[in-house]
């Protein structure tokens, strides 16, 4: 049974030094108990306490970092089966396959995609994380060359071969990058485990099904290796989903440590059709993959996958918000309408999308309402006339337009009188309640 926060607290130094990132040992103990912190964050814990705590305080699914540096993706660390129970923690890392049999130009093009296909959305940068370097040639020298080339690009790496000699050649070039070694199997376990330990790299294990995986991970953990990623070997859609669910459930619901690690999945090996591959990947985003290996990165599939991932991994308790400010839509002029809305990101997306659809050049003012929607923020007193008026005056829109008209959301109709008092000379127009009615509304708007 896992220890409670109080039980853990008794084993900590109780110095409240704060070096772990939280102010008190008690708070740190509580975080350990709920799987939100790792014991290694405490520099002063005694070896004895460590041994006692390690087993009990480890999160049910260990977080594993692939690569080095601030950009290195962390996968795993999940604590729930359903996102509404708390939240999903670490979005899956997307990887692009690169084979050592590919021409150099193709390799370069793929490395470039991994670095360049990035998308800005609600102030976040959505991007893929990994390149999976596959030793198809069987030639150690070729693989080493490929790893060198990839390493220089700055991408984080997965080294793919079941031949320990080839993995060793790859490590010769890229050990300092702490790549994920894929994969340890029943046949090569000791040697690949040795490589992982010597180079302190994370290692993926591949077996047939969850039970086979558990046998291998027990051997690895006995050898002191903890940074493990699981491949259940399934390459059919049904079996792969089933394995993902069983692995997650065994780790969380049964506290079955041998499966308490993130998973790696291979849509790239499940179909030859890039469209279908993308839909399979979309399944793995919702259902529990830690790493998703794709045959290629294409904008038309990578973008939807990254956005889906951002959506599913949004904390249900903390809605995403958009930056406060003036948004120019369809190249507005000094005679274009001025609309205001809240900074709940969904509100922003819907309103800005509808204005774009209308093709009417407009100024959209987004007020910081702490990420709440129009109606919720208004009900909470965060979107009333006395808050809106100073924002309209300060934000600078008054220098951008010649007219003095402000369109407010239909749900804020009750604020129109107050706003006319607070913004002398301005005419307050009550817009539609629903975003969908904005295009029709804007078409009738006159400066």
């Amino acid at each position: 049974m896992p220890l409670t926060g109080i039980e853990i607290f008794k084993l900590l130094p109780k110095t409240n030094c704060g070096e772990c990132g939280v102010p008190t040992c008690l708070a740190f103990a509580m975080n350990l108990a709920s799987g939100k912190a790792e014991l290694s964050a405490c520099p002063y814990v005694t070896e004895e306490a460590k041994a006692n705590l390690e087993e009990a305080s480890a999160p049910p699914i260990l977080p594993v970092t692939i690569g080095v540096g601030p950009e290195a993706p962390k996968v795993g660390g999940e604590t729930v089966m359903f996102r509404h129970e708390k939240r999903f923690e670490n979005p899956p890392a997307l990887a692009i396959l690169i084979s050592d049999t590919m021409a150099e130009a193709e390799v370069k093009a793929r490395l470039d995609k991994c670095l360049q296909l990035q998308y800005e959305r609600v102030g976040l940068t959505l991007k893929p994380d990994l390149v999976a370097l596959k030793a198809d040639s069987g030639d150690t020298h070729k693989f080493e060359t490929l790893v060198n080339q990839a390493k220089v690009s700055g991408c984080r790496l997965i080294l793919m071969s079941e031949n320990p000699d080839i993995l060793a050649a790859g490590l010769k070039a890229g050990a300092d990058q702490k790549p994920l070694l894929y994969a340890a199997t029943e046949g090569n376990l000791d040697r690949v485990a040795g490589l992982a330990r010597e180079n302190s790299c994370p290692v993926a294990v591949k077996a047939s099904g969850p039970e086979g995986l558990a046998q291998l991970t027990e051997k690895l953990t006995a050898a002191g290796i903890r940074n493990i990623v699981l491949d259940s070997g399934a390459r059919t859609v049904r079996q792969a989903l089933e394995d993902q669910v069983i692995i997650r459930s065994a780790a969380l619901n049964k506290k079955f440590r041998p499966l308490g690690f993130p998973t790696i999945t291979f849509p790239a090996e499940m179909t030859d059709d890039p469209m279908k591959e993308a839909v399979i990947a979309s399944m793995f985003i919702a259902k529990y993959a830690g790493i998703i290996v794709l045959s290629d990165f294409r904008g038309e599939s990578l973008f939807p996958l990254l956005v889906e991932s951002m959506n599913i991994f949004t904390d249900p308790q903390r809605p995403l918000s958009t930056t406060e400010g003036i948004y120019e839509i369809n190249n507005p002029s000094e005679n274009s309408p001025v609309l205001i809305t809240s900074n709940f990101s969904l509100t922003y997306f819907i309103i800005s999308g509808e204005i774009e659809n209308s093709k009417i050049p407009s100024w959209l003012l987004v007020k910081d309402t702490e990420g709440l929607s129009v109606l919720t923020s208004w009900a909470a007193g965060k979107f009333s006339a006395d808050i809106i008026a100073p924002f309209v005056k300060k934000c600078g829109v008054m220098d951008k337009v010649k007219h003095q008209k402000l369109v407010i959301p239909g749900y804020l109709a009750a604020e129109s009188g107050g706003l006319e008092e607070e913004l002398p000379g301005w005419e307050i127009l009550v817009g539609p309640r629903e975003g969908a009615h904005i295009p029709a509304y804007l078409k009738t708007w006159q400066p």
């Binding site: 959305r121 027990e218 049904r238 079955f256 440590r257 979309s282 939807p304 889906e308 999308g353």
Partner: protein, 315 residues
């Protein structure tokens, strides 16, 4: 450590609902596990896909979404027949966009005549979707129910604000009701209770939790549907044991992300494939949360999702 496959304990089951009539009627629901958790329990009826047909020519659709229906978009009967014949549709959803009071504002009689023509021209189940304007939907869907009596239509969205009148018409003329609520499990349950109190029998009820596409709040629908399934299957919440219908195509194709051209933003890739994938991936996500009927549009997106359903349930 000995390994044992962990299994969820289920104590509930989704009701089996028959949609349409005759040889092409389909039965949905009946599942007693989370979606596609076939190692735990069963899903006797596969999720179904209904194809979108509009009762007036679409405006501002992405080119990719119009292309498969070239030549029929001004004729809902021909459009529906094309979906059946060329794309193997198992169901049709006729969207009564023309009745929108903020748009064409077509009258109830005229709209109902179009529904009747489509219903008579096809033998698959027909979903009829209004504009979510309570007054107008009451008028239109009541008329549709009457004109198409004995056609066993599936009528929606039926919301708390108009459930009495539309619900009564559905009972009277024997149509299925789509109980529609704004992404809220409690409101969904409450509306099901209200419709039950009104006299809508269980076998004429399906739920619409209000869905949205990738990038536009799909996570809200996803979690509400997961909670509904959890309550229905593991907490014996009978008032949530109804199949779920997801009107997903129009939510994905109306977004700007389906319309941006590759030349405008090369990083977004091919616009047609992107639109198809946004629809297919949104639909896939809804399936994993518990969707029993997906209302979809692009034949290639439908094909992808059909393949996924087949593979997820392959013995």
């Amino acid at each position: 450590m000995a390994f044992e496959i962990p299994k969820t304990t289920y104590n509930g089951k989704i009701k089996e609902i028959k949609l349409g009539k005759g040889d092409k009627a389909v039965t949905i629901g009946g599942e007693s596990s989370y979606p596609f958790y076939l190692f735990e329990s069963e899903m006797p009826h596969l999720p179904r896909i209904a194809m979108d047909v509009y009762d007036c020519p679409p405006v501002e659709w992405a080119e990719a979404a119009l292309e498969p229906f070239a030549g029929v978009t001004d004729d809902p009967v021909a459009w529906a027949q094309k979906c059946l014949k060329d794309y193997g549709a198992e169901m049709i959803c006729l969207q009564l966009l023309s009745t929108d009071p903020n748009g064409l504002d077509r009258g109830a009689d005229e709209a109902a005549e179009v529904v009747k023509k489509v219903a008579e021209a096809i033998d698959t189940p027909l979903i009829v979707w209004g504009t979510a304007n309570h007054d107008k939907d009451t008028e239109v869907l009541r008329r549709v129910a009457e004109v198409c009596q004995d056609k066993n239509l599936i009528l929606g969205p039926v919301e708390e604000g108009d459930h009495k009148k539309i619900g009564a018409a559905a009972i009277g003329y024997h149509h299925t009701v789509i109980a529609s609520t704004p992404i809220d499990i409690n409101l969904a349950k409450q509306l099901n209770i209200l419709l039950g109190n009104l006299g809508v029998p269980d076998e004429l009820l399906v739920m619409d939790p209000t869905v949205s596409g990738i990038g536009y709040g799909i996570e809200y629908a996803y979690s509400v549907m997961e909670r509904m399934r959890m309550a229905a299957l593991t907490q014996q919440d009978e008032k949530l044991q109804f199949p779920i219908i997801c009107n997903i195509a129009k939510e994905t194709w109306k977004t700007k992300e389906t319309k941006i051209s590759e030349s405008e933003n090369p990083k977004m890739g091919d616009a047609k494939k992107r639109g198809i994938l946004l629809e297919a991936m949104s639909a896939m996500t809804m399936l994993l949360a518990g969707g029993d009927v997906l209302i979809m549009r692009h034949p290639e997106a439908i094909k992808l999702v059909r393949e996924m359903i087949a593979e997820l349930t392959k013995a």
